[in-house]
């Protein structure tokens, strides 16, 4: 797959503090890419470099195979974490102004605004001032402004903070629709769970360094530990547990079940096959539950960070 954005060996220092230390990231075209890391890891600095708000001290950024050029801001839509609008300006006027700053003509901007306002059912807000709108309403307007110029690359920094669940869902839906239409999306967040459902690719940044990156499914495969959660129904659970503990590496398991049975997690050796485990268990008890434990992004993150510390 072709890459839309390639950042190579980016360094950025602020005085004696290094904000980004040799960070390279590749974002394939048409993907949803999650940039993860705790607060202060360097995510926003990296995003600002892509937006050419700050310049890297070293390293290069390529968009669509060509070095990033000031004109490229037209191909990027950016919804910053610190976002707001002019309070005393009318919604429509403001959206028009910001769209025209991105290079759209007045007529073009007006037409697209009408389309989006209708789509998000906010047509009535055109002549309202931002200070009359609620925070969630203002964020809808900001979203429209971000996507209005049909950018190739959409960057959302903590997009769902401040949205109520209903609006968050609407925005999620719109983002996925934009992806269908061919846009590439970069998410930056410290809320790992939001990545699970949306992102195809991810990169982990901690303390200015990139710790890992790649396809989410592959990273998960790499980090899974051949562990299975099982729910077993047996007449003598204590004996069964003792037997299992003797043969396998057994841990506690927490999953919901309607059955009042023995819940354990069993970690196999890398070369062992889960089929053999099932066969063994079949002879001992009734199996109500058998699931491979897939590590969550959160688990991976904690594991990587503590491992690298």
């Amino acid at each position: 797959m072709e890459n839309l954005l390639v950042a190579e060996n980016i360094y950025k220092r602020f005085g004696s503090y290094t904000a980004l230390n040799n960070v390279s990231i590749t974002i394939p075209k048409g993907s949803v890419f999650g940039l993860l890391g705790p607060n202060g890891a360097g995510k926003t600095t990296f995003i600002r470099i892509i937006n050419q708000i700050t310049m890297p001290d070293e390293g290069k950024v390529y968009l669509d195979g060509k070095p990033l050029h000031p004109e490229d801001i037209r191909h990027i839509g950016y919804l910053p974490e610190e976002r707001g609008l002019y309070k005393s300006m009318k919604v429509g006027e403001q959206a028009l102004y910001l769209a025209r700053l991105k290079g759209l003509s007045k007529a073009e901007a007006k037409e697209r605004l009408q389309y989006w306002f209708e789509k998000l059912e906010i047509t009535g807000w055109w002549d309202k001032k931002i200070q009359e709108l609620s925070k969630g309403m203002a964020q809808k307007v900001q979203f429209v402004i971000t996507v209005l110029h049909n950018p190739k690359l959409l960057i959302f920094d903590e997009p769902f903070s401040g949205f109520d669940p209903v609006n968050a869902n609407i925005i999620k839906r719109e983002i996925l629709e934009l992806k269908e239409k061919g846009a590439t999306i970069l998410f930056s967040t410290h809320r790992m769970e939001s990545v699970e459902e949306l992102c195809d690719y991810m990169a982990l940044i901690n303390k200015s360094n990139k710790l890992l990156d790649g396809k989410v499914s592959e990273i998960k495969k790499e980090y899974k530990s051949n562990t299975f959660e099982v729910g077993l129904e047996s007449e003598n659970e204590a004996a069964l547990l003792a037997e299992l503990q003797e043969k396998f590496k057994v841990g506690k398991a927490q999953f919901k079940s309607i059955n009042d049975d023995l819940k354990v997690s069993i970690q196999l050796q890398p070369h062992e096959n889960p089929n053999d485990l099932i066969q063994y268990l079949l002879s001992k008890a009734r199996i109500n539950h058998f699931v491979e434990v897939i590590p969550s992004v959160n688990d991976i993150f904690i594991k990587t960070v503590t491992h690298n510390a």
Binding site: G15, I53, E82, G84, Y86, K87, Y97, R100, L101
Partner: protein, 431 residues
Amino acid sequence: MRSLKLIIQREYLARVRNKTFIVMTFLSPVILVGMFALIAYLSMLNSSEQHIIGLHDETGLFLKEFQDDENLQYLNFSDKSLDEAKKIVRENEYYGLIHIPSADNNYDLTGEVEFFGEESPGLGTVQNIEKIISNKLQRNELIQRGIDVDQIDSAKTSVDVEIQNFSGETTSKMANYLRMFFGGAAGYLLMMFIIIYGNMVMRSVIEEKTNRIIEIIVSSVKPIQLMLGKVIGTSLAGITQFTVWVILGGILYTIAGFYFGVDLINAQPGQIEVEQLNVPEVNQLVADVLNLPILSLIIYFLIYFLGGYFLYSAIYASIGAAVDSETDTQQFMLPVIIPLMLGIYIGFFAVIENPHGTVSTIFSMIPLTSPIVMLMRIPFGVPWWEISLSILILLCTNTAVVWLAAKIYRVGILMYGKKASYKEIYKWLKY
């Protein structure tokens, strides 16, 4: 360039549509002219009031010297005792009582004259009394020494120095006042403009920061474009406001003068008393105004006005970028206000005293004061090379300051919640 135009347009409209701005634009001239009218009216009332002062002259020498005029009327109580005279003055609520005791010779009187009154008299009144008495005493003294006073009177001459430049053009003294007026007005105008609209630039930067819109905008345009757009847009709004003030003020002034029948022009302090000039002098005055190099004055005014305004508003913009709220700006205001004040003080003291003295010359070169000081010097005629040097220094400083301010601005607008200090800002310059 297209973005810059859009930004200028938005900034201009944002200022001009602001309610406070609109109210101030139309209210200020009304208030100002109203105040002038009130002052004029009150001072007319004041001067039409006639004070009555009692005289108790034991020497009998001075009665003829105190002549009634439109403000003061003197009543003679010399035939009564001092206590009686005081009583009458107090009961009738006269302005006061002058008591001149009898004395053997003139010198004994010098420290003996007294003034009794309910309230302490105005400085002018006291000076007037002193003058009348000391004049009379002087004359008496001269007569006693056998000097013919009439001859002295006839020997008095009035000298009116005629000022010419080396090419033989005559200028009146009035021309110097004119120069002072033009220079002073230009300098003062520039200072007011910088303070009012520089602050406006600063507030608008802070507003963008607190509204958190700044990052959305700088992802579309360069910070320096935003800064320049802000400065230019705000100054255009300022020019609009000034124009409205001048036009509206002029109209109101005329109407007020007409309506109240008050000669507002004459009510101003430090006025030139036109009616006292004779016709040749008026002609001379007109010639003087025309003789001032009007065109070059206007050009220089524009250069220094723009140069000075840009310099200061770039500084104001970077201050706005460095802080989080307007209350944090105090510590940074001093370096802005001090040179402005210095410029005005030097203008009004050093330049008027000696337009080409060392102090005036030096401060018309230093970029932070030069716009004001040089503008005040120019009507007095400054050699072209001095002006060129001063403009050159101003332009170089401008470039440097705008560049530095843009750096501070670029970093500062994206810094939230960080308490800016001079040290912190110095660090930003190196990012």
